[in-house]
């Protein structure tokens, strides 16, 4: 996506409908968004989806937002590894 502000709640929910057990949203560090508020909007939307997933009963902890500089491959790897290890505790998507 050109900016994380293009992340819409529906995209994240559709990932879970398609069977995803976890979703991570990687956004620019705060204060560095070239469009000023993009990552802040993404944060609000991810928070909203967390709330929705709690209400649905799947668990909002399955979707998370992380701030990460552009090109930080090792950082991204670390986040994905952590998410995979969290899934051992969370289990697969109960709505898959």
């Amino acid at each position: 996506m050109p900016c994380s502000s293009m992340t819409r709640e529906l995209f994240l929910l559709k990932a879970f409908e398609a069977g995803a057990s976890a979703v991570v949203v990687l956004v620019c560090p705060e204060g560095t968004c070239r469009y000023l508020e993009g990552n802040l909007r993404a944060r609000k939307r991810v928070a909203q989806v967390k709330k929705l997933l709690d209400e649905v009963g799947i668990g909002g902890e399955r979707v998370n937002l992380f701030n990460i500089p552009h090109g930080d491959q090792s950082g991204a790897d670390g986040i994905i590894q952590q998410t995979i290890s969290d899934l051992v505790r969370l289990g697969p998507n109960p709505a898959a």
Partner: protein, 222 residues
Amino acid sequence: MIVGQQKPFAEIKASVHPYSKLLILGCGTCVKTCFAGGEDEVAILASCLRLAFRKDGQIITIDELTVERQCEDEFLKEAAPKIAQTEAVLSLACGAGVQMVASRYAGTPVLPGVNTTFIGILEKQGLFTEECSGCGNCVLGDFHAICPLSRCAKKLLNGPCGGSQNGKCEVNRETDCAWQLIIDRAKAFGQLDKLATYVPPKDWRTSYAGGPRKLVREDLVI
């Protein structure tokens, strides 16, 4: 606009639970503007319901459609084919739209998905405030375009109650005192003396307290 808020998810899920085929019908006007029942909200709600029912091991088919306005036949008729194929309609329109659907498609159960709240404005992004009560006899001209019926907690037409502090209402400290706003505006226009003009007691027959209202425009009836 008419401002509404989507009902809690648990309440909606419980209300559609008996049905295996559901149409979520959105409205593209007021409820879309307040992010309660437009196309995006329909899609999000449909996705959440599918996930919730799948998690419970229940099969439900959910169809989605948003029309421009549910309160007008010209737009609502577009929903006819999908309504014919469903067991129930979950309408995300305001109360008027929900009832229109029920009236035009009497054989299909219609459920509300939105709590209709008030006639208001978008004060700033994310904040909607009540401005109008729909009293049917607008007196904004007497009060410098600040409505004491909808914006004064006590609905006082005669003047301030005297309980406000620092311009805030004594009933709700987060609310601006409507009479403070009226007086400030009258002063700004140099028309403070106009507030001394006698205003007769309000005729409430035009408001909702007088029962369901109707408006007929003979010039438009063919």
